[in-house]
Structure formats: C-alpha cells, structure tokens
C-alpha cells in the first residue's frame, strides 16, 4: 500500500520534475567519476588481447553502447505498455524521451562496430543477421521519433509511438539471439552467457564500469528530456506557473 502510494506521488508530473531536478547534479558527478575510471581501465590498465592486440579496446565503447541500445528499447516498450494500459503520463514521457538517446546509442554501436570490424574482420560492414537486425533497431528508433513529431496532439502521438514501440519489441530477442540462431560473422556473447564470462577479469572490470557510466548517461539524458517534455505538456498548470514566478523573482 505504501509503495503504490509512493509511486502515485512520484508519478505526478510535478513531483517527477522536482525529483529529477534534485537527482541530476549527483548523477552527473557520478557519471564523470565512473567514466574516468572506465576510460582509464579500458585504455591504460587493461592488457592487450592475445589475438586482437590493442584493437580490442574498442570493446569499451562498442559493447556498452550495444547493450544500452537494447536496454533502452526494453525500457521504452515496458513504459509503452504501461502508458497504453494505465494512461500514466510519466510513462508516456519516458517513452518519447528515451527514443533520442536510444537512437544515439544504437548509432554508436553500429559506428564503433564498423571501426572494430575493419581492422579485425577485414570489412566495415556485412549483411549478417546481427548487424542487420541492429540496423533495423536504428530505423525503429528513427520511425518512433518521426511518428511522434508528426502529431500535433502529444497525447495522441504518445499512443501512436507506444504501439509502434511494442510492435518493434520482437526485434530485441532477434538481435540478442541472432548469433546463436544463424551463422554470422559476429561472434557470440561474451559476458551475458550463462556460464562464466569468457573475458579476463582485468578486461571485464573496465567493461562493467563503462557500461555503468553509459547507464548513468542514459538516466541523465532521460531525466533532462523528460523534464523538458513535462514542462511543455503542463505549461498551463499551476505548479509550472509557480515555477516560472519563482525563477523570475530570483
């Protein structure tokens, strides 16, 4: 009972706006600390790979970006379902606010993968199942953004993109299992397989740090966009009016 009460409270746009505003400075500080740790670990302390030498260091941006591209989509799809069933405003805002940063991470996964593929595999791009399905994900993010901007009424727009996000969610297991279901040039999973990860511990720790840093960045970007979106949607409400008066009095 307590929890639902709390959730209802935080799910009100005004409370969410203030809550994010309080969290953001701390999250940004933490992001830079974790990022510095991850970069130092990945570029300096991690040993070179036995096969790939230093080229494998691209893993520290490529893999976290690829994980984020999938994770953000899942967050979007879950919020899309919540938005459609319960009509919770915050969920609508999270769906659209995640799309931009999700598209950015997907783009990064593709570009850094290409920069890794050229020296190691011998090609910038190939149409194997993993690469193709990740490209489809990028287009999904793009269509969600385009569809949202095509509607004048943002609540109708949210409904439309929620449905599209749920239609596209099938692509997520396809991306993840593509390397298992089909022959691909891309290798199999390293960290997320069920037995122990097949990466040396000194190489794994910076990878997890970078993944944590990228997660923090997602949270930061999401909160910033969500705050902006809330202000735009609630522009005529009393609390926004108060907020404006307060800031103009300063």
């Amino acid at each position: 009972m307590m929890i639902t009460h709390y959730l209802h409270k935080i799910a009100s746009p005004a409370a969410f706006y203030l809550f994010c505003g309080r969290c953001l400075p701390w999250l940004i500080a933490l992001f830079f600390i974790v990022l510095a740790l991850g970069l130092y670990g990945g570029l300096v302390t991690a040993p070179a790979d036995y096969q790939q030498g230093d080229a494998f260091r691209i893993i520290y941006v490529h893999v976290p970006a690829a994980w984020m591209s999938l994770f953000i989509y899942l967050v979007m799809a879950i919020n899309a379902a919540v938005a459609l069933i319960w009509r919770i405003k915050i969920s609508e805002v999270i769906v659209v606010s995640s799309a931009y940063i999700g598209a950015s991470f997907t783009f990064l996964a593709l570009v850094t993968g290409s920069l890794w593929g050229k020296p190691m595999w011998g090609t910038w791009w190939t149409w194997d199942a993993r690469l193709t399905s990740e490209l489809v994900l990028l287009f999904l993010y793009f269509s969600i953004i385009a569809l949202y901007n095509a509607y004048e009424d943002k609540r109708v727009a949210s409904k439309a993109i929620s449905i599209l996000a749920l239609v596209g969610v099938i692509n997520i297991p396809i991306i993840h299992y593509s390397v298992v279901w089909w022959n691909t040039l891309h290798q199999g999973a390293t960290v997320t397989k069920l037995d122990k990860p097949s990466i040396h511990i000194d190489m794994l720790i910076p990878l997890l740090e970078m993944a944590f840093a990228f997660n923090l960045y997602y949270l930061i970007s999401l909160m910033q966009r969500a705050r902006n979106e809330i202000l735009k949607r609630e522009f005529n409400s009393l609390w926004v009016k108060k907020l404006c008066q307060e800031s103009s009095n300063e």
Binding site: G53, A55, Y100, L108, L115, Q224, L231, S248
Partner: protein, 60 residues
C-alpha cells in the same frame, strides 16, 4: 606516450571510435540543455503576458 597514441597500429580506429562516442553524447547533452532553456524562456514569456495560449510552445 607515443605508444599509447598509436595503440599498436590501431590508433586510428580506436581514437575515432572513442571520439565519435563522446561527440555523440556531448551533442545530446547540448541539445537537451538548449531545449530546456528554450522551453523555460517560452514559459516565462507565456506566464508574463498570459495571452494566446496556443502556438507559444511549438517545438520548432
């Protein structure tokens, strides 16, 4: 130091990958900041004048 920059001959690929990554994140952060500022300006204007509630918050 030079060894660090050349990365065993893979310097170009590694530094481009890291460079693009941080460029994209920095642009995202900048866009968020500019949008937030624009919204706040529009809102301040709107609540000062209090007329014509439509169009004022158009995105573009």
């Amino acid at each position: 130091m030079n060894e660090f920059l050349t990365m065993g001959g893979y310097g170009f690929y590694i530094w481009t990958a890291y460079g693009v990554s941080f460029l994209v994140l920095a642009v995202d952060a900048l866009v968020n900041r500019l949008q937030q500022r624009k919204t706040l300006q529009n809102l301040a204007q709107f609540h000062q004048t209090q007329h014509n509630p439509t169009n004022i918050l158009d995105e573009h």
